[in-house]
Symmetry: C2
Subunit: 191 residues, 2 copies
């Protein structure tokens, strides 16, 4: 059994949220799979499941909105079965540290570089995201990884996502993903 | 038995290099422990030891000078005993990406932020270090961690070093270590 975490802001862009919205949630639509899919709308910090409920927990760009990542790690560890996997994507600390979520530009408006500042100041950052004003909690890489390890997870894979060559000229703005890392993807295992 | 790796540039600052220099290496000085300490001066990529020779491999700010980190991981994995540990510090990718190794300043000369650029361009960067011109090989966090995991290591601990509060006003320049991460410290285990 799997547990999927998605943020309120990102849900309109998320394939699986759209799937839920179309098949499960909508009051006008029928949940086609009521016996196997359950939808909950609640704060991530408040999730509560029986121990060993899931073989897989997947979170897509949701955990930047959580203040206490260590607490979430403990909860997810508990609700996973032995050898269960926790896979998540977050905006990486290099991306969230400065808070502006914007490049530095030269006087002609060309992108110069990505600014990093206040890296070790773990605190809320106000940002504009998909037309919403949102609060993200900047955390260091240390906090992400030590929280996972302390909860009992092993780090099976970790990458800062890099665009594939064939996408660079196919998707607008994809070349902007080369100068600085934006996404951190982690596969952690309950061992 | 332990194996310590230190760079040529850093050796004058390194406690253990000084120890070696004073006790082991110097032609004028006597190696006080010839039976238990051996000193070698060679490229890290050329190290060659019998399998399972060491319980511990420690590297201090040396692996930024290595082009092929994956090769080093395989060599170190092979020369470690079961449950052996590989502990290393490196200048972290956020620090090495741009290449200037310097801040962005405002017109009055005050530090604005740390620039990140060319993050996914893994290639040599020329830098000035302790009075020497040196070539460092910028690598992404992905490369460091996937190389370790692929070689067979588990990641036991990983931190981006943050200065302790009591050091901030005690050591000149220590407050500059708060806005951006400089050092990455990893403890990997042969499992």
């Amino acid at each position: 059994m799997a547990f999927f975490i998605c943020s309120r802001e990102w849900r309109e862009k998320s394939d699986w949220y759209r799937y839920f919205a179309e098949n499960v949630k909508g009051s006008k639509r029928k949940n086609r799979f009521p016996d196997i899919i359950e939808y909950r709308q609640q704060a991530i910090k408040d999730i509560q499941f029986a121990n060993a409920s899931f073989d897989l927990v997947v979170s897509s760009l949701a955990l930047n909105y959580v203040a206490d990542f260590a607490q979430v790690c403990h909860k997810i560890y508990a609700c996973l079965t032995e050898k269960g996997q926790f896979i998540f994507s977050i905006e990486c600390p290099v991306f969230t540290a400065h808070g502006s979520q914007d490049w530095c530009y030269d006087s002609s408006g060309a992108k110069l570089h990505w600014p990093v500042d206040n890296y070790f100041n773990e605190s809320p950052r106000q940002a504009e995201f998909l037309g919403h004003k949102v609060t993200k909690y900047h955390k260091t890489l240390t906090t992400y990884l030590i929280s996972l390890l302390t909860a009992g997870f092993s780090i099976a894979r970790l990458i800062k996502a890099e665009p594939a060559d064939y996408l660079l000229d196919k998707i607008d703005g994809m070349r902007d993903e080369l100068p600085r890392p934006m996404m951190l993807l982690v596969l952690a295992e309950k061992t």
